[in-house]
Amino acid sequence: MNCQACGVNPASIRSIDVVQGVKTEKFLCEPCSSKAGPTPFSALKLLEIAGQELIPKTNIQEVSLSILKKIVAEVETPRDKKRCKHCGMTLSELQKRGRIGCEHDYEVFGQQLLPLIERLHGQREHRGKAPLKVLREQRLKSLRDMLDEAVKSERYEEAARYRDEIKTLGSAAPFGAETS
């Protein structure tokens, strides 16, 4: 049988993907199977990561703590005593608590935390909503860029439109707050 991906090389590897509980089976050659990359996330992957001790009842909180402990054990050596200057957290405290001390820890200990986060969620990039304020700032920034661009190339009518929108956005009273 030939590889089901390239159809050229003989298939030598049976690859099983489980996505949302649905199993698909493919026969691939070695180059194609290594190109396939990481399997899309499924809870089964979480089980794999968690190791036998957590099967069958996977509680993500417990997994989080156990992975965190492992990572810290691997990473922390005496010369790696990083400390967050905002909350004073160290890696070993992170391990003890299984929680971060402040929002900055995700950046300070990013090198250690990001792999954990990816293993927990099977993903590493946020895909959901953003606070209105963030969206507004993003919009303002892009408007300012467009304004600069328009002025530079002497498209004044357009520039005036951007300026108006910037003015409206910038002075907009937050609609969730009472005006007092």
Partner: protein, 352 residues
Amino acid sequence: MIGGRFAKIAGEWLAPDGPDRDVVVSTRARLARNVEGWKMPWRLTDQERATLEAYLHERLHRLSGVDSTTYLNVDALDEVSRRLLVERHLISRELAQADGDRGVTFTPTESLSIMTNEEDHLRVQIIRAGFRVREAWVDIDALDDRISEVLDYAYSPSLGYLTACPTNLGTALRISVMAHLPTLVSTKQIKKIENAATQTGHILRGLYGEGTKPSGDLYQISNQLTLGRSEEEIVCSVIDLVSKIIEWERGVRSLLLAQDRTSMQDKVSGAIDALRDAEKLSFDEAMRHLSLVRLGITTNLAPNLSMQTVNELFLETQPAHLQTFHGAPGEPLERDRIRADFIRARLKSDNR
């Protein structure tokens, strides 16, 4: 004690008119949020924590579009009052058991509550009666936008809302559906449900969440994963899974009815008799019987009882409720007697 603050009847979310109410009791959406520039609650000194609590309370008070709210400083409450709030799903067990300044803000209908200084600075929650995942999300999304205008959230474009525990990163959205699964329990299929949930990134838990044992055949089904999927995807995945579980439970109910209606009728009638005749009832006994009565109502085997009554009894027969509203003592035996009296009286008045 804080009993006076509540109508004796349950919050709006226990109303018996929700979609798919034969299986689903309620739907809950919660968001974890933290405020920029403050350490996580557990990391704050007592002084800082008190300052933050007062600040959050003040900001949330300015929130528009929300009914007059009640704020309670949980630290100042006695043990029974805290348990009462847990039983009403207004606060988590974690918040009840924690130390230091912390609070809860909620609306008169109790469908909205915001915990302050829990694991995260804010835990925002919306509860709806019946199977209403999308409505719960739409409401909490709008509320979240309004809160974000009075408080600056800790947020990063790549990791989303920054939470105390890495397991909540991203959307920090957890949707929980409380389902009544009596025939899946009696036919020993809960394990399968549990596996199906786990394999699709969800989790099945007891009545009060994390680590609690199921009671009255009531289960909470929630998503576990929050990063790298949008709120819409989370909403759809929970709707998908729970719809299947609803169909499954309904299928088994009709199968059991078709196979042996008599013995099911016997069980339901037995439970009603037990609730009417008992001199004393423990919480577990009451929940077990109430579960059968609820099943009886949805299968027309308990024609004289209403879903409203059973839903409310599920709540009102819990220990802190009996203590608060019926003067039951902390001592279990006496409490079991008062529970039996209360249930007997309620069923009598419900007989239409």
